[in-house]
Structures are given as C-alpha cells and as structure tokens.
C-alpha cells in the first residue's frame, strides 16, 4: 500500500518535472475564473461557476477550466491573476466589480492573455472586455410583484455597496413597486459586503422589525431568505434561483445566466476571433432570467409580471421611462423619455420618493 502510494507520487513528480504546464499548440484552451465568494454561496459566485461548468460541458476535453474562490478585491486578486496568466491561462474571467484595477493592471503585462471583467467599465487595453447584465430589468418585474404583495406597504432592500449597479436596482424596484401600489415605502439597509451571511441576516431582521413584509436583496447569500422564512414574510431569490425557499418566502427570483456568454467568448478565443467588447445583456438575450413566480402570488399578479417581463424583452417598454424626477425633486426624464445607458451606468442618485440618503 505504502509502496504503490509512494510510486504514484514519484511518477506524478517526474511527470510534472518533465512536462512543465506550458500551453502548447495542441493543448486545450485554458480558461480561468476568479470569484469574490465561495462557489457554494448559492448566489452570485455559484452562478458564475455554473457558467464555468457549462463551458466544460460544451467543449469537453478541448478546454481546461480552473478557478480560485473567495478572492479579496485588491492586492491578492492582482497576484492570483498574474500567476494564472504565468501558468499559461488563455482567457480569464474576473467576476466582481472590485477586480477592475487588478484586471487592467495584469492585462497590461500579458497582452496575449484575454481578460473578461464582469460589471466594470474600464477596458484600458485591447485584451480586456467587460460584460454585465441589465439586472434592473428583472428588478422592475420583482418590484411590481413586491408592490402588489405587501400588506404593510413596507418593502425592505438589503443593499451591498453604493455603486451605480446597486443604486440602479433600488431605483428600478422602487419605481415599479410604486406604480403597482402608490402607498409603498422602501427602506434600504447597506451592509457593505457581497457575501456575509451573518450581516445579511442581521440586516434582514432589522428590516423585519421595522414592519417590512417583502424583502429584496442585492447580496449573495441565502441568509435573508432564511430570515424571511422565520418571520413568515416574502422574499426574492438573488443572482441564483434559491429554489429551496420556494414557494414561500421566495416568491420570485432574478437568475444570472452567464453560460451562453461564457461559451461564446471561449469559442471566440478558440477560433481566434476574440475582440475587446462591452456587453450589457438583459432579459431578451437571456443573461437575466426570471425564476418561476411561485403559487404564493395571486394569478393575476403573476400574469401582470409576465406581461411586464415580455414587454421589456420585446423592447416595447424601458424600465426607466419618464416622467421621473430625482430624489431632490429636480426633473430627470420628461414624459415618454427613456434613460440612455450612460446615465444608467453612472447612476449615483435616488429617484423621487425614496427616503434616506445614498451613503457618501
């Protein structure tokens, strides 16, 4: 037993020494991923990892994927990216906003390695692409359901960081909740983390104590779902379906479906057609999916939500269509006017009716 064990180890050592893991012509395409949370968060990082698995299934032995999870957004990310590039990775997906500087810094040093940065806006080098999803489209639909489902007229929102993506989601959800129910109020709690089940649960309980009976979250764990279940209120799955909390508290969800994009980009690298692009896809392209509306929602509300989702997908309705004022009462969009992408990408203001300030 000991002998075979040692031999196998020695063989592995010899093999590793003889074949340094350089990418050779016939070698599989190497694709790397870095995640901000653990792959088991059942939310954001989990869905990115599902995309990675889909890439493996699509291309079989002609790709090799690797990942590093729970990577802090800073010096550590830069080191891991550099090491991935040095180890011969051809394409690297950096799946959190905070990897923006590390991604661009490392891309400068490795012009032959392609980088794909999720939710960022900087493409300093021709080997960097950015991609994100129009989550605000899904938020509009969930906001509508929330407005219909609340009986205390209080909706709670667990927000991560005050960055445009999160603020956009809050505005979209509030706008459509208000349209569905003019008496609705929304309380926002900032937790300053993407993944921290303890903090998320505390925030959920604080909101529930204030009388909130529908909970939305822009964080990655299922802790708010558990808190909602305990309190007997409604909630929505975030980033992933969180189907284990169906039919209640989880009455709907936004699912990030990265698989088609990841497959497309890996294919482009294999075929040598990869170029730096900025992708922002929504419900129509399937990057934003709405999870099943559970039976806890009355049938006519489900139908309304579906209709809203369909009209957004068809391009007939834009979630930010005027008249909309900013929080301070100044005009933002005139009657019938829709927001341009630039304003949405840099959104740093609440719309009229939301109480509280964006922390700064």
């Amino acid at each position: 037993m000991t002998l075979t064990f040692t031999r196998r180890g020695a063989a592995a050592l010899a093999l590793a020494a003889a074949l340094p893991f350089a990418a050779q012509a016939e070698d599989p395409t190497k694709v790397g991923f870095i995640y901000v949370g653990p792959v088991g968060d059942l939310g954001w990082s989990y869905e990115h990892d599902q995309g990675r698995i889909a890439v493996e299934e699509e291309f079989g032995d002609s790709v090799e994927t690797t990942y590093v999870e729970s990577v802090p957004e800073g010096a550590d990310a830069e080191r891991i990216l550099t090491q991935m590039a040095l180890a011969g990775t051809d394409l690297i997906f950096t799946t959190s906003f905070g990897y923006m500087d590390p991604t661009n810094n490392v891309a400068a040093k490795f012009p032959d390695v392609k980088f794909e940065h999720a939710t960022g806006y900087r493409r300093d080098h021709p080997n960097v692409s950015t991609y994100s999803a129009r989550f605000y489209e899904g938020r509009a639909v969930l906001g509508h359901i929330a407005g219909k489902m609340t009986s205390s007229n209080k909706i709670g929102y667990i927000a991560s960081f005050p960055i445009p993506e999160v603020i956009r989601g809050i505005n979209s959800a509030y706008l459509h909740a208000k349209k569905a129910n003019p008496d609705v109020e929304m309380s926002v709690v900032w937790v300053y983390t993407w993944f921290d089940p303890g903090k998320e649960a505390d925030a959920a309980r604080a909101l529930i104590d204030q009388g909130v009976d529908v909970l939305m979250q822009h964080t990655d764990s299922t802790a708010p779902q558990a808190a909602a279940k305990e309190a007997g209120i409604y909630s929505f799955g975030q980033a992933s379906d969180m189907a284990q909390y169906k039919p209640a508290p989880r009455i709907g969800s936004i699912i990030d479906n990265w698989a088609p994009y990841y497959i497309e980009r890996v294919k482009a690298v294999k075929e040598g057609t990869w170029e730096s692009v900025d992708t922002w896809h929504g419900i129509n392209e399937g990057m934003v999916e709405l999870g099943e509306f559970s039976e806890a929602i009355p049938e006519e509300v489900r139908a309304e939500a579906q209709a809203l989702s369909d009209s957004i997908a068809a391009g007939e309705y834009h979630p930010f269509t005027g008249p909309i004022n900013k929080q301070d009462g100044s005009a933002w969009l005139a009657e019938g006017e829709t927001s341009d992408d630039g304003t949405l990408l840099g959104m740093n203001f609440y719309i009229e009716g939301i109480t509280g300030d964006i922390p700064n």
Binding site: Y67, G74, L86, I163
Partner: protein, 361 residues
Amino acid sequence: MLRLEKRPQPSKLWTALTPLLAVLATMVAGGLLFALLGKNPVEAIRVIFFDPLFNEQVASYARPQLLVKAGPLILIAIGLSFGFRAGIWNIGAEGQYIMGAICGAAVGLAFYPSENPLIFPLMVMAGALGGWIWAMIPAILKITFRTNEILVSLLLVYVAEQLLASVSLGLLRNPEGGGFPGSRNLASWDASSNPELIAGTGMHWGVVAAFISVIFAYVMLSRHIFGVQLQLAGQAPRAARFAGVRPEMMVFICFTASGVLAGLAGLFEVTGPAGQISIDFNVGYGFTAIIVAFLGRLHPIGILLAGLLMALTYIGGELAQFMLGLPAAAIQAFQGMLLFFLLAFDMLSNYRFRLSAREAA
C-alpha cells in the same frame, strides 16, 4: 505504561524541533485531507511548498511576492512578540493596522496633488502614530482600570473596520471615482507611493522595515536588559517587580511596539500593494501575525522564517486552487493545522514521556 511528566526546564532541543515537526505533521495530515478530496496528495504538497519557489513559469513572480506577503506579517508579529513574551496580549493588531493605513492615507491625501518629497515620510509617521493611538486605548484602560486587554484590543478591531468603511465612503473617497467607494490610488501618485525599490524583488519599504524590525528586536531581546525584563515579567511577575520592573511600564512599552509596527504595516500596504483605502482593505494580516509570532517561537529569527513560511502557504495555496482545483476552505484548514500541530507538539518541550511501572491501586 506511558506517563507525562513536566520537565523542570523546557527542553531546548524540542523547542527548536517542534516547528519543523509541526510542518511535517501538517504535510502528512494535509496530504490525507487532499487525498480524501480526490487529489494527489504528493502533487498538492509539491504545488503548495515547492512551486512558488521552483516552478519555472511561476516562481520568478511568486518568489518576490513571498516578501510582499510576508512583510506585513513579520512586521506585525515582531511587535506582538514583545508583549506575548511578557504575558501582555494584544489581539487587536488588525485594528491598529487599519488605523495606521487610514491615518497615513489621510495625511497624504490632505496634500494631494502636491509632489513634495516630504509627503511620504510624513505619511509614515502618521501611520505609526495611528497604530500607536489605537493600541494606547487598551493599554491605558488596562493600566488605569485593569480592564482585560485581550477583549478591549480585539473589539476595537471591529470599531476600526467600521471607521474604515466610513472613510472609504465619505472622508477619503476619491472625488473622481464616479461614486464608487475607496480613496484615490496612493500607489500611482508619486508623492505617496511605496514602490518596489529594486524591480523584480518585491522589496518595498514595508519589507525593509520588517527586516530592520527583526534586527532591532534581536538586539533588544538578546543584548539589552529590556529582553531580560520582558522574560521576567512574563514568567515571574512578582520577581519582576522586586527586580524593579514596573508592570504598567511594560504594558505601555509592549503596546507601543505592537501598535506602531502594525500601524506601519498598514501604511506600507495601503501605499504599495493595496494602493488605496477601501472597505475591504484589511485581509487579516493582524490575526495571521499572531500565528506567525507563535510559529516563530516569539524569537525574531523564528518570526522571520515563520512569516516566510506562512506567505508560502498562502501563495502555494492559491496555486493549488487553480492548478489542482482544491477548494479554498481546504487550504484554510491546511493553514489552521499548522498552528494546531505546533501547539500540540509544544507539549514535548514542556513535558516528557516516562515509562513507568503499573501503579498500585
């Protein structure tokens, strides 16, 4: 029958041997863990311990990164080791590290965009001061009210984290950052940057400071009466008092050393590798340094080696994650084993096994 017997004196031999034994035992137990996860254990150990140093593709980058990662660990651990020798427990180095970074960055940013060469030295002083003030809170509370310094220093870490979030979003937020939290990039502003001093070595001012602190600590502990006083205060507080060692003074000195060094570590990190104040700027150096201090037997040279070893498991652990697909949690468990085995084997330096006849009832 085997029986444990306390040694009259801790064994010198075992004291030196236990860290090595602990590393070996960690390799064996860790290998077992990796095998259970379906990975080749020999390959996993090789990737963690050897690839960062010798793999031809990664090593040229990973070797200097060892210094970058070990620098703050060593700097903080040296500061902590003074107190730990004397039985004074500063567990809040993480908070002092954060406060050093905040104070240093704030002083620097106040002069933005000046290119005055005095800015960086001023920031270094502010960083040391920030860490020192944060350490003085538990120290003074202990001296005047006999509060428990473990609890106070630890809880102040969480206060510091809240302050960090607050300044990242408010006071120090980059006005040109498009509303995103985090300060200006200090590493890319010449007056405040702490760059690599010699390209390709990973040496920045923080690493230099770590080496100086090792030498300074070595001299203080082995060539200066202060080293004896520390030892005495830790092992025989009453005897120490008779020898004229004032315990209040010891608390003050030890917290000063650890606070200043942790503050410096934070300042060098924020101006160099990290580059900016951000909400999750701290990644646990202050806590890991406690492991490093004990792994290094509270001895300066030991801490130097332990810091490098810890950095190796971090960098090798990352390599093992993406080369072999080991989960992050397995790597953390592996690092935890190191401390666990060290403490377990410590028994050998304080006790010995004796073969004894069966005892009569």
